[in-house]
Symmetry: C2
């Protein structure tokens, strides 16, 4: 393809002005009690010292998804998490450096997969209740991400992405309750969850349990895909 720019001493020249494009990732984790967000402290202006979502500028040889994945990996070490487009945020004055449009993604990760990061890295988990004022329009993006996460949780088995591979049903319930801010009856929740048929029962031994150990399960993705495909799935919370 012939390039769509003219290279000049001042840089890449275009006939009409263009916005720069970035990708940002709102990364959620769950510590067993509260929803957490992974933030990075900015080392440079603008908003130096403020916390923000990991992200960065799109290159000309990658899609915006590839950009999000790459930046996420560079800044947090995370590889291939569950990730979805959230939306594009394009307010004219959202970035003091000029016209920069961002595509936000939301990602769900198992917190265990991020601990042990490089200490020099200014990345930290914040419980949702203690998120500081963020850089740019990231406060706004976070609200949109939360709304979307809750909507998706009602009908998609995304809770599993936030828990360890092996989890107990009470653990899963705590997650649903924390995210949706509602209370489920223990017995009914367990019944309904098992009735979906997308859980595989393993040996009983929840190491994190403080009293009686909970039976461990894992998410049966193949079964889920199959049921989703032929419409036998009953999944609604």
């Amino acid at each position: 393809m012939t390039p769509d720019y003219i290279k000049t001493p001042e840089g890449y020249a275009y006939k009409y002005p263009r916005a720069a494009m970035t990708a940002d990732a709102v990364i959620f984790g769950f510590d067993g009690y509260e929803l957490q967000v992974l933030l990075i402290q900015r080392g440079i202006e603008p908003y130096k010292g403020r916390w923000a979502f990991p992200g960065g500028f799109m290159r000309m040889d990658e899609t915006i998804e590839e950009c999000a994945v790459r930046e996420l990996h560079e800044e947090t070490g995370l590889l291939s998490p569950y990730m979805q487009q959230l939306g594009i945020f394009s307010d004219v004055d959202r970035d003091p450096r000029g016209r920069i449009v961002t595509t936000a993604f939301y990602a769900l990760v198992k917190m265990e997969s991020v601990v042990g990061q490089d200490d020099a890295m200014d990345a930290r988990w914040f419980p949702l209740s203690a998120v500081p004022a963020l850089a740019f329009d990231h406060d706004h993006i976070l609200r949109v991400a939360l709304k979307r996460l809750r909507e998706d949780l009602h009908f998609r088995p995304i809770g599993f992405e936030l828990l360890p591979q092996k989890f107990s049903i009470p653990q899963l319930q705590r997650l649903y309750e924390a995210l949706l801010e509602i209370h489920f009856d223990r017995r009914n929740f367990q019944k309904k969850m098992l009735a979906t048929g997308i859980l595989i029962e393993l040996g009983e031994k929840d190491p994190t349990a403080r009293h009686r150990a909970g039976t461990l399960y894992s998410f049966n993705k193949e079964q889920y895909d199959k049921m989703k495909h032929d419409g036998t799935l009953r999944l609604e919370f």
Copy 2:
């Protein structure tokens, strides 16, 4: 704000290459029997003569939403339809002119509000079953839009956006059946729809009816907003 470019004889110069940004709108209508899509025939290369969604380049003084609304108005005369972000499409080679990233929107309109358009305008409704091969990656975008439309229809009262202000329940049912490609029992559909409490009964006189005239209703948006707000809403199809 200081500009983020340097103006040169060759155009607007940036330190790093940038993609151009466009907005495209997938516009759906309903003729009473089948879902329709509004397309525009391209008058210039690339893809001259091929059909595509209305859309165009984002300006530096507008958001991508404002761009979508503006282009839609310029190309079809439509004003303030129901419109939602669909997603961003950024494949590196999706446009032969260079690196152009598009944000797709989907819009729902009452077909009556577009008829009577300028004849010179190369805009036309196509039934979904007769959509030609489209320009760029618009075939792909259309598939994504359809998937999204169906998902949304299950839980949001968006069907009303596609019907005239006054409609009968059988009309509404035909719309649901056409879009979701399933069949509802007439009695149960009517019962469930009325039970939502978001319909206002008007005088009986459906002019388009061919035999017995259907009772006309209109969508009670205030009631819907109220019920949505305090969680009393039961709406699921």
